[in-house]
């Protein structure tokens, strides 16, 4: 099992959600986050006062999946979130040791 976290542009969330639903992903967690990568921040100007805004709003999306679904998930996320412009985001994959469903007590793949 893998935990896939993707950082994407906020307005791409609906596309990514739909793409993941299509390949059978049945749950996800979404968080509004801030950060920067190569895109860096931007500047804002208020009556001549210029402020550098280092952290841009992004969406962090987390999905836990079976091992054989990992490649498809990566493909779906990167396909749907891509704009070919700087700041599209990243996908991180980590091993998931155990999953436990609170209601039923199921574990492992059954709990996904």
């Amino acid at each position: 099992m893998k935990l896939i976290s993707a950082i994407i542009k906020p307005f791409k969330l609906d596309d990514v959600r739909d793409a993941l639903a299509e390949i059978g992903v049945r749950g996800m967690t979404v968080t509004e986050v801030k950060g920067f990568g190569r895109q860096k921040g931007h500047t804002e100007l208020y009556r001549g006062a210029e402020y550098a805004v280092d952290f841009l709003p992004k969406i962090k999306l987390e999905v836990a999946v079976e091992d054989d679904l990992v490649d498809q998930v990566i493909e779906s996320i990167s396909g749907a979130a891509k704009t070919d412009k700087i700041g599209d985001g990243k996908v991180f994959i980590v091993n998931l040791e155990q999953v436990y469903r609170i209601r039923t007590g199921e574990t492992g793949n059954d709990a996904l």
């Binding site: 804002e44 100007l45 208020y46 009556r47 001549g48 006062a49 402020y51 550098a52 805004v53």
Partner: protein, 437 residues
């Protein structure tokens, strides 16, 4: 405030001979109530109050950080209440009563507690009660304008005491100088709706307060972006609408001058908003919402002294001049000088007021579409009078405001401590938050 042309023509019904002999005398001796004028002035009064709460409150609240939003609105609201009470107790009397031997400088106290202002008392063609309450809304907004200069750091208690003293020894006398029969009005200074009395007065006092109280902690290195420009734009729009009461209402009648005051208010505001927007667009590369709203307020300020005197093209010139001038003052000069007039009360109200007051002397000329200079007065002489009015207001305002701030500082302390400032005035001074999201 100009006097109404009396309606002696009505008396012609009694015959030409009688009219010639008695008409003007009758009109002067027995002023009569005009219901149209009265209805308009009651409406205008409500419009001017609408400028302070909610207009100015929202305009300012949006520009401060979220932790101080409520404190700014609270200050505007409390000033509204406090000035109302002071006005009926003695403010109206000091500003508009006959001051006897001191009449050049300040009014008397015979109208304190609104003595003698009854249901049947008239002021021109409107009830004196309506005149007094209309003027009260001006005495409310002038101190409220200053809130922007010391926003995010002044103690609420010190603010209340300072405003009480300031209304008493600055606003009421200066109002009397210009509109109450004092020396500036007598000299022929033209200030239709309050360029000197309201805007220069508030702008200069605001600057003095900002400098005496000192910069906000971290200014200008720390980012202090406006927390909601949506509120600011809504507030600016309300100010614009309310300003028709301010300017067209200052005619104290529903007549042709009031109508023209409405037109020039609209034209100058639009011109100034565009001038600020395009200045910023040219200087920075993008037009901003805060810029266009600030420009609109600058234009409203600048046309205020001129509104009963100039024509639409004069208004356009005044608008463009103020939009550009206030942009330079608020964006460039403030940065260069380093003072923290947080919401640009000086840059917009004092600078806009000065531009408007001086240009009133130019565009009042009939040759430039205005109502015409007084007989025997050249444009140069009128501009000279305007400058005297501006300088007198500035000098008096600076000196007295400085003294008042020192007194209040000695009694209560002017500002919150550093930790409290960091925490935000909403929690520290009011035990509340503007937003519980």
């Amino acid at each position: 405030m100009s006097n109404r042309t009396n309606k002696t023509i009505l008396c012609a019904l009694g015959g030409v001979a009688v009219w010639l002999a008695a008409g003007p005398v009758l009109a002067q001796d027995t002023p009569t109530l005009d219901s149209g004028d009265t209805a308009w002035m009651m409406t205008a009064t409500a419009l001017v109050l609408f400028m302070t709460i909610p207009g100015l409150s929202l305009f300012y609240a949006g520009m401060v950080r979220a932790k101080n939003a409520l404190s700014v609105m609270m200050q505007c609201f409390a000033i509204t209440c406090l000035m109302t009470v002071l006005w009926v107790v003695y403010g109206y009397s000091l500003a508009f009563d006959d001051g006897g031997g001191l009449n050049q400088w300040v009014g008397g106290l015979s109208k304190a507690f609104m003595a003698g202002v009854g249901v049947d008392t008239l002021s021109g063609s409107i009830p004196e009660s309506v005149f007094a309450i209309f003027q009260m809304t001006f005495a409310i907004i002038t101190p409220a304008l200053m809130v922007g200069a010391f926003a995010e750091r002044m103690k609420f208690s010190a603010m209340l005491l300072f405003m009480t003293l300031w209304l008493t020894v600055v606003y009421a006398p200066v109002c009397h100088w210009v509109w109450g029969g004092g020396w500036l009005g007598e000299m022929g200074v033209l200030d239709f709706a309050g360029g000197t009395v309201v805007h220069i007065n508030a702008g200069i006092a605001g600057l003095v307060a900002a400098m005496v109280i000192g910069k906000r902690k971290g200014y200008p290195r720390t980012a202090m972006p406006p927390h909601s420009l949506v509120l600011t734009l809504v507030g600016a729009a309300m100010l614009w609408v309310g300003w028709f009461g301010f300017n067209a209402g200052s005619e104290l009648a529903a007549d042709g001058t009031a109508g023209m005051a409405m037109v020039v208010t609209q034209v100058a505001t639009a011109g100034a908003a565009l001038a600020w927007m395009f200045s910023e667009w040219a200087g920075h590369g993008k037009p901003s919402a805060l810029g266009i709203a600030s420009g609109a307020v600058a234009g409203l300020v600048a046309i205020t002294p001129a509104s009963g005197f100039v024509g639409p093209m004069g208004a356009l010139a005044i608008g463009v001049a103020s939009g550009w001038g206030c942009y330079i003052a608020s964006v460039k000069i403030k940065r260069a000088m380093g003072y923290d007039d947080s919401l640009d009360v000086f840059g917009v109200h004092a600078v806009g007021g000065i531009i408007g007051a001086i240009l009133t002397g130019v565009f009042v000329s009939a040759a430039l579409g205005g109502a015409g200079l007084a007989e025997g007065i050249s444009m140069g002489a009128q501009v000279g009078k305007q400058i005297v009015g501006v300088v007198a207001t500035i000098v008096y305002d600076i000196i007295v405001t400085l003294v008042l701030l020192k007194i209040v500082d000695g009694m209560l302390g002017l500002r919150v401590n550093e930790d409290e400032e960091t925490e935000g005035l909403d929690i520290v001074l009011h035990d509340e938050r503007g937003y519980n999201l």
